[in-house]
């Protein structure tokens, strides 16, 4: 028994009654046929049907939601955050673009759910006053699910694309948030610990051998991030991406081909010269791979985010790849650039 992919299926099919269970889901509600069904259907119920209270039956009471602005602990915070977002964007639709999952054993599953949201900003949001604009932005939610409950979540949202769509400057928002952070007290302990954990990971020997094939997702993901980013072998892009690869990233950036994808990697290291990257989780289904990664470094270059500040930064990101003919043909990488700028401005 296994889960049925969203490949080739419209939302009408995905949300229709799914019949008998297709996957071993101990402790899950009987109307969920598999982990993909669970993720798509409960997202629709909570967000689109506004049954926010279902968070109580779908999230563990002691849930930890990891974000680039810090962990949110407990369902009260999840419910409050959901209600705040819905009041700012009441017509938000959540278009599931991918559900890439892995079996974590003992009845648990990790789902990496990529969502395009279309939403009209009719209320005050965490980014500013209502603008009346309709925007599109990408979110990836990595959810560890067990017995009908999301027990831990890693949430990355393209806040800079939201800000730009609403007509705001990301840095202006980040500057205000950073001022508030500094007024509130010393730097956040969670962020310092996260950066220390990443920096403590030992360097690997210089990678000289061939890359694992993309079909070996776990080895490929670890090998690629270590080689291309930690060892600065940006030329790896030529080996593992299609010359016609499409790349989607923070701020709604759209890049194409080896030159621009390499340019992103170069600019990232050109901005954070000592950046260290740690791959935290890999999931793969069919031709899709999800990689959650984190990074720590120093803002010592001006390639992406203005004049160097010398401040330490932490990144939590998720990358989704689609591959064909042995190479990556499409990538979506999401992290919260406003949270990054907030750190650069001296916040968190």
């Amino acid at each position: 028994m296994t889960s049925r992919s969203i490949h080739g299926r419209d939302i009408a099919d995905l949300l229709a009654p799914q019949g008998a269970r297709r996957q071993d889901l101990p402790g899950f509600d009987t109307d969920y046929a598999d982990i993909v069904d669970y993720i798509i259907r409960c997202t629709h119920r909570i967000w689109e049907q506004k049954d926010v209270g279902l968070i109580a039956t779908h999230y563990a009471p002691d849930i930890v939601v990891h974000t680039m602005t810090g962990p949110v602990v407990g369902i009260a915070g999840v419910i409050a955050g959901t209600a705040r977002t819905l009041s700012a964007f009441p017509d938000r639709t959540l278009i599931g673009e991918a559900v890439i999952w892995s079996d974590e054993g003992d009845g648990a599953y990790l789902s990496s759910h990529r969502i395009t949201s279309i939403a009209t900003n009719t209320g005050q949001s965490e980014l500013g006053p209502a603008t009346g604009r309709r925007i599109a932005f990408t979110t990836i939610a990595d959810c560890l699910c067990k017995a009908n409950l999301i027990v831990e979540e890693w949430l990355v949202r393209d806040y800079s694309a939201m800000a730009l769509g609403l007509g705001y400057r990301p840095r202006t928002i980040a500057h205000g948030q950073a001022e508030a952070d500094r007024a509130a007290g010393p730097p956040a302990r969670w962020r310092i610990e996260a950066m220390e954990e990443i920096s403590a990971v030992s360097s690997t020997p210089f990678p000289n051998g061939p890359m694992p094939p993309v079909t070996q997702a776990e080895a490929f993901a670890h090998g690629y991030f270590d080689r291309a980013l930690n060892h600065r072998r940006f030329g790896t892009v030529r080996d593992v991406y299609s010359p016609a690869a499409r790349w989607f990233g923070p701020g709604g950036r759209r890049l194409f081909g080896h030159g621009e994808v390499t340019g992103w990697m170069t600019a990232l290291i050109g901005t954070f010269g000592d950046l260290r990257v740690r791959v935290e989780h890999v999931a793969a289904v069919g031709d899709e791979i999800a990689v959650r990664w984190s990074a720590a470094g120093t803002h010592d270059g001006g390639a992406l985010y203005g004049a160097p500040s010398g401040r330490p930064i932490y990144i939590l990101a998720v990358t989704h790849w689609r591959h064909a003919h042995g190479v990556i043909v499409e990538e979506t990488t999401i992290f919260d650039e406003i949270a990054l700028l907030r750190q650069i401005e001296g916040g968190l």
Partner: protein, 267 residues
């Protein structure tokens, strides 16, 4: 073909996501183009749309689709924005300015000839894996003509009297095609053509490609400022006895002009 809830549409300047957004865009398009007769022709996953009014003026649109089953999951659309402006009585410069201001254009990243440096303009096209190998002779000629600036390479496959149709409804033979390529590259002197998709079906061949370059000479009424321009191009060919006898090549001049009129967004 039907849209998915998650279907997306890429144009040179825009990225529409979700069925609702595409349906809304299609409705707006239908209202705007309703007075025009539309003919369509399909070559593999490419649909050619030709809009014509009673006076015979009009424009072309190429729609490349990727499908999953009976659904379209993504589209790439290339349209002759200059000809459509003329046919719809829109002021080209005003529309280009408005389009540019509404687009989110980031600072450019990376080079256009990654890792190939001085060898980027070689004899052999860099084709994405999975493209039909039989497209290679055509792609290699395009590679030599566009990236190698060796326009005589077209003589190998393009008939001298090829019926060429280009952007802004330009028409002519091989010499006209060469003049157009040379003029375009002359405005973006480091321009690189990158192949994305290809089709071979019967006597037709089609290629989807990108053209990236930096603005180096007066173009579309704008003085050169080094702005990186990123265009999507689409070429559909008819072959007879191994020679190209028809060539319809599209880029969107309106999207090009729009990019030259705006600065990248400030973070």
């Amino acid at each position: 073909m039907t849209y998915f809830h998650r279907t997306s549409r890429t144009t040179t300047l825009d990225w529409l996501r979700g069925r609702d957004a595409l349906v809304a865009a299609d409705l707006a398009d239908r209202i705007e183009t309703g007075k025009f007769a539309v003919t369509t022709e399909t070559v593999g996953c490419l649909t050619l749309h030709r809009f014509r009014n009673d006076a015979g003026s009009g424009w072309s649109r190429h729609v490349w689709s990727r499908t999953e089953g009976e659904f379209v999951v993504s589209e790439t659309v290339v349209e002759d924005g200059a000809a459509s402006c003329r046919a719809l009585s829109h002021d080209f410069e005003t529309k280009a300015q408005r389009l540019g201001e509404s687009a989110v254009i980031h600072v450019p990243l990376g080079e256009m000839r990654a890792g190939s440096g001085q060898f980027a303009a070689g004899e052999t096209a860099l084709l994405p894996p999975g493209l039909p190998e039989a497209i290679r002779p055509i792609a290699d000629v395009i590679q030599r003509a566009w990236n190698g600036r060796d326009f005589a390479a077209l003589d190998r496959l393009w008939a001298q009297d090829v019926a060429w149709t280009g952007p802004d409804s330009q028409q002519g033979n091989r010499a006209a095609l060469v003049s157009w390529i040379a003029a375009l590259i002359g405005k973006f002197d480091d321009a690189v053509l990158l192949f994305e998709e290809a089709i071979l079906e019967g006597d037709r061949a089609a290629l989807l490609w990108r053209l990236h370059g930096h603005h180096s000479a007066e173009a579309f009424g704008v003085s050169p400022a080094g702005t990186r321009i990123r265009l999507i191009g689409s070429t559909v060919l008819r072959l007879l006895d191994g020679r190209v006898v028809e060539d319809e090549t599209l880029i969107d001049p309106l999207a090009a002009a729009a990019q030259l009129r705006v600065r990248p967004i400030a973070y």
